[in-house]
Every structure is written in structure tokens, then in C-alpha cells.
């Protein structure tokens, strides 16, 4: 267990717990609603299309990698970390919530809404460790994969547009 995971998961601040739990259950619909609300800020249609393609890609990639690495969550290994929500059955690495959030960060770099998405993504990553759902390494992997999935999504859209 790494020091940061142990420290963050050991914290217990009510308001942080409340918001983290909300993110745990509702991050996917929340980000989609936010996307609809911030659509005018997507200067290039291509970025929106790339995001849509990446959403499908990220689902495939994360499901496959979780099954491949089959690493247990911190809350599942009977360690000193107890989760603040019921421990899910799926595997830990990489963090799907974090990857999903950073996908939106990648899509909004350079736009006026980037700071909002960035803060949401960073808090999402933090909350996964705080809730005892993931190790630090899981969220690091999720961040990287989110960016990579978006980059691949952009290339796919470029190819489709050229055709």
C-alpha cells in the first residue's frame, strides 16, 4: 500500500465524503449533463465527435484492462482501508471513473470550460482514493488512459472526416 493511498483513504471529512459518494454514483450522468450544458463552448464540432467516439472506446479499453490485470480494490483485500461506500465487485486497475473524467479534460483543453472539467476530474481522482475504491496508481493509470483514448478518438474522427 503506498503512502498517499493510505493517507487519503484514512481521511474522514463529512462534506468531502458526501460529494465523493455523489461522484461515485452519479459521475457518468453528471458529466453527460455538463457536456450538454457546455456544448456551445466546443468551438470545433470535431472535438465533440471525438469525445463521442472516445466514450465508446474508453468503455471497451477499461473493461478489457480491468479483466486483464484483475487487481483487487483496496477495500476488497481486507487491508486497513475500509471503504466509505459498499465495495464494488469489479477490479481496481485502472480507475474507470478517473479515465472517464479525464476524457472530458482532454476534449476541453484550450476552451473556456477547461478549468471546470479539470477541477471535476482532479476531484474525481481524489475521491476514488478517498472512498477506498482505488490505489493512487489506479487513478494515475486512469488519467493517462483517458487522454490516450481521446487522442485515438480524435484520429478516428480525422480519418472519417477525410473520407
Amino acid at each position: 500500500m503506498d503512502a498517499v493511498t493510505e493517507f487519503v483513504a484514512g481521511l474522514n471529512i463529512q462534506i468531502v465524503s458526501d460529494v465523493s459518494i455523489a461522484f461515485h454514483y452519479y459521475i457518468y450522468p453528471l458529466m453527460l449533463v455538463l457536456l450538454v450544458l457546455t456544448l456551445p463552448f466546443f468551438k470545433e464540432k470535431k472535438k465533440f465527435l471525438a469525445l463521442v467516439v472516445s466514450l465508446f472506446l474508453i468503455f471497451i479499453v477499461f473493461t478489457s484492462l480491468k479483466a486483464y490485470y484483475h487487481e483487487a480494490r483496496p477495500c476488497a483485500v481486507g487491508s486497513e482501508i475500509s471503504s466509505k461506500v459498499p465495495c464494488p465487485d469489479e477490479y481496481s486497475f485502472p480507475s474507470g471513473h478517473t479515465g472517464f473524467a479525464f476524457l472530458f479534460v482532454a476534449a476541453t483543453i484550450g476552451s473556456a470550460v477547461f478549468p471546470a472539467y479539470f477541477l471535476i476530474a482532479v476531484f474525481t481522482a481524489f475521491s476514488r482514493i478517498y472512498l477506498g475504491m482505488h490505489y493512487f496508481n489506479d487513478v494515475a493509470g486512469g488519467m493517462v488512459l483517458g487522454m490516450l483514448c481521446y487522442a485515438i478518438g480524435e484520429k478516428i474522427v480525422d480519418k472519417l472526416i477525410k473520407k
Binding site: 483543453i109 479539470f118 494515475a140 488519467m143 493517462v144 484520429k155 480525422d158
Partner: protein, 201 residues
């Protein structure tokens, strides 16, 4: 004729500076990892990941600011020295950081991580320098040269220091993948190749 040669030399010297900086950053990350190993033993990878994750998030903010044409003291001067004129400022450096963070997140062994960084920093660096001077274009990708691909392979073999003989097929695979035009930044593609290689072998 003389003016055209001078112009090419100037571009080559700029690219050399850029590639040596690329190599230096890679070696600096390896040095950081080795320093953490000396201090924290088996937890070295975690501490290096913390540093790189913070750097990654700072990199995201910088990239956003540069796309918005905001001025950043000191960093602007560094980017002027190292970034290609028509490229998005900080784009190459950012993907280099993503590639290195991917190695730390997806590989457990510090030797594998160090080998991957070496292949990325040294292999890719020498490949660009030799490839620019080369004239034998690859039949499947006219944007790359045989000289560049061979330079990648031989320089990437320095990963032998960390992986022994396994560095040779790793260098060959990365050189081959890098020689294709896969429309993904080399700084992301080479680490992905290393991660796949180390998971298979």
C-alpha cells in the same frame, strides 16, 4: 546552393538541441527513479509516480494556457528554444510526460520502467537525428528513413543496462512500430509498445 545548405544546417542544429533535451529529460526521470530507489527501496515507483502525476496535471494547465496564447514567464523562453516553430507549444513535451507516466502506471518493475524510458528518450532521439540525415526512405512509409529506424534500434539497445538481452527484441519491436505512420504521437506509441511487450514477455 550555399544559402540552402546553411538553412538546412540551422534546422538540423535546432532539431539536435531539441532531441538532446528530449534525451536529457528522459535520463533525468531515470535518475530520479534511481534516487528514490536508494531512499525508499521497493516504494520508489510510488514516489516517482506521485511526482510525475503532479507534473502531468501541471502540464495540462500549461497546455491549456498555451493554446489560449497566454504568456508564461521562463517557460515561454524554454518552449521557444525547444519546440518546433509550427507545432502547438508544449504539445510534444506534454505527450512525452504522458508516455512516461503510462510506463510508471502500467509496469511494476523499475527496470522495465527504466528500459522503457531509455527506449523512448534515447531511441526516439537518435532516430530523429539520424533519420533527418538519411536518404533511404522506407518502402511502407516515405516519411521515415532506414537510417532513422536503424539508429532507433541500435541506440534503444542501451536498455540492455536494465533488461539484459531482452532489450534487443524490445528495441527491434519499438523501432519497427515507430517506423510506421500510425497517426499517434511517438511519445505515446513507444511506451504503449513497451507496456505490451513487457506484459507478453
Amino acid at each position: 546552393m550555399a544559402r540552402k545548405q546553411q538553412f538546412s544546417l540551422k534546422k538540423y542544429l535546432f532539431e539536435s538541441r531539441r532531441q538532446f533535451a528530449h534525451m536529457a529529460f528522459g535520463l533525468a526521470v531515470i535518475a530520479m527513479l534511481k534516487a528514490f530507489e536508494a531512499l525508499y527501496f521497493e516504494n520508489a515507483r510510488f514516489y516517482a509516480t506521485y511526482v510525475l502525476t503532479v507534473a502531468f496535471m501541471a502540464g495540462l494547465i500549461v497546455l491549456d494556457l498555451k493554446i489560449k496564447n497566454r504568456k508564461i514567464p521562463i517557460l515561454d523562453e524554454l518552449l521557444k528554444l525547444l519546440e518546433r516553430p509550427r507545432a502547438m507549444p508544449g504539445h510534444g513535451a506534454f505527450w512525452f510526460g504522458v508516455g512516461i507516466l503510462a510506463l510508471f502506471a502500467f509496469l511494476k518493475s523499475t527496470n522495465e520502467i527504466s528500459a522503457g524510458i531509455l527506449v523512448l528518450a534515447i531511441g526516439d532521439g537518435f532516430s530523429t537525428l539520424a533519420g533527418t540525415l538519411g536518404s533511404n526512405k522506407l518502402f511502407y512509409n516515405e516519411k521515415k528513413t532506414l537510417e532513422g529506424t536503424l539508429a532507433f534500434f541500435f541506440s534503444a539497445c542501451t536498455a540492455i543496462f536494465f533488461m539484459g538481452w531482452l532489450a534487443i527484441p524490445l528495441a527491434a519491436l519499438c523501432a519497427l512500430v515507430e517506423s510506421f505512420n500510425l497517426h499517434l504521437d511517438d511519445n505515446a506509441l513507444i511506451p504503449i509498445t513497451c507496456i505490451v511487450f513487457f506484459n507478453v514477455f
